[in-house]
Symmetry: C2
Subunit: 215 residues, 2 copies
DNA sequence: CGACCTGTTGATTCTGCTCAATCAACGTGG
DNA sequence: CCACGTTGATTGAGCAGAATCAACAGGTCG
């Protein structure tokens, strides 16, 4: 589970985000821990405090309601920071999606890199607000389109998109059922907008069409 | 529109939130501006920078998609701070719902009260994540129940809840249509869970029932 | 091989939307 | 004062999109 400090992680695409590199150098980053598929990074109710930096892989942030319905509030990929919490306890829980390398940042919250933290928190807020629009006002087709474009952008905007998460995760992120996700991918395929080279590999054939679905 | 500094605003219920009072004293707060019903506080595309402190009244934060669908991402009431933005321009727009008194905070972002700002931003994030669960995983009934309980809590948890916003706003906040909002209020009334003394005044008769709908 | 898990597909149901009519409250102008 | 227009809320009828329930295919692992 723990990797020695001499472990060489692939350089994350966006470690040059404003603030992040500074943070990495000042926040006494721990060694990279490898969380295998579905491993819990922190649980609902755990003590909050440290932040987490994604070195590689994908992380899902989830909330579970009392009756078992799950909502994934975010996916985090290389270069992103997560773990912000209001109180002493985590309201959400975080899990590795596909085997992820995570650095724990023990942040001195009264230091001068608070402004980096603020930027990161506000970025999370903006992303979450975007997603609110998707869940509140978009049809199932449009939700899938938005996700595919989001993933494409994060992965470098080539036409080839990798889906690290399975249908169930996509559904719980988009507020749908996994059957609907499956059907809509089918539908996009039939309209020649995407190609499914495998279950987890999507080739975007018609960027325009996807963007038109999102405005 | 502008009120002189000697204007006496009713003391907001939660101005003793951690960080806020400190912020108010150090961020050279301007005089309270009164924004009448539906007045724009800032528009999509406006230059971001200052933050806004709600002295009284209610503010809605909105996003509009290219095809005209609107999502209200938050309502802010007395004691809350809004206006956080990632880039140089506002991605959302803010409007007064019912006549609101707003103080503009010209925040020195590299100062030592960044940690207050961080707390406020993270609080907004947590609230938005809660709302994601509501939009992604809850039925129309449950969404209304969640809103009523949220408003009740903010207004002091007496059984009497005031709805400062109209049906259209509620709908755009909850990802529904205003007809559905109307119907469900009717339904809650018929089940003796609430009473509608007027269009904008709700009396909660059965707290338990509402809470059971939210878990 | 069989058990299991993930994904796909089909049939049916149902929730919430669309379209439309009606009503109440309010303001304006004659 | 009343006729008129406007705006927001309510209610109804019918429809569509997504959920639910169910069957089945393919892959993996014991």
């Amino acid at each position: 589970m723990h990797i020695q400090p001499n472990f060489r992680a692939p350089a994350p695409a966006n470690c040059n985000e404003p603030g992040v590199s500074h943070l990495l150098h000042t926040a006494q980053p721990a060694a990279v821990s490898l969380y295998p598929e579905n491993a819990v990074i922190y649980a609902q109710g755990d003590a909050a405090g440290p932040l987490y930096y994604v070195e590689f892989g994908t992380v899902r942030i989830c909330r579970m309601s009392a009756d078992g319905r799950r909502q994934i509030t975010a996916f985090h990929t290389a270069g992103e920071v997560f773990g912000f919490e209001v109180g002493a306890e985590h309201q959400s829980y975080a899990e590795s999606v596909d085997g992820a390398g995570i650095r724990t940042l023990r942040v001195n919250r009264s230091g001068d890199f608070d402004s980096s933290l603020l930027k990161l928190a506000v970025r999370s807020l903006a992303r979450t607000q975007d997603h609110l629009m998707v869940l509140g006002r978009r049809s199932a087709n449009e939700r899938l389109a938005a996700l595919l474009l989001d993933l494409a952008e994060r992965q470098g905007s080539t036409g080839l998109v990798h889906l690290p998460m399975q249908r169930n995760d996509i559904a719980d992120y988009l507020g749908l059922t996994f059957e609907t996700v499956s059907r809509i991918l089918r539908c996009l395929k039939d309209s020649r907008i995407i190609r499914l080279s495998s279950v987890s590999e999507v080739e975007i054939l018609d960027f325009e069409a996807l963007q038109a679905m999102c405005d």
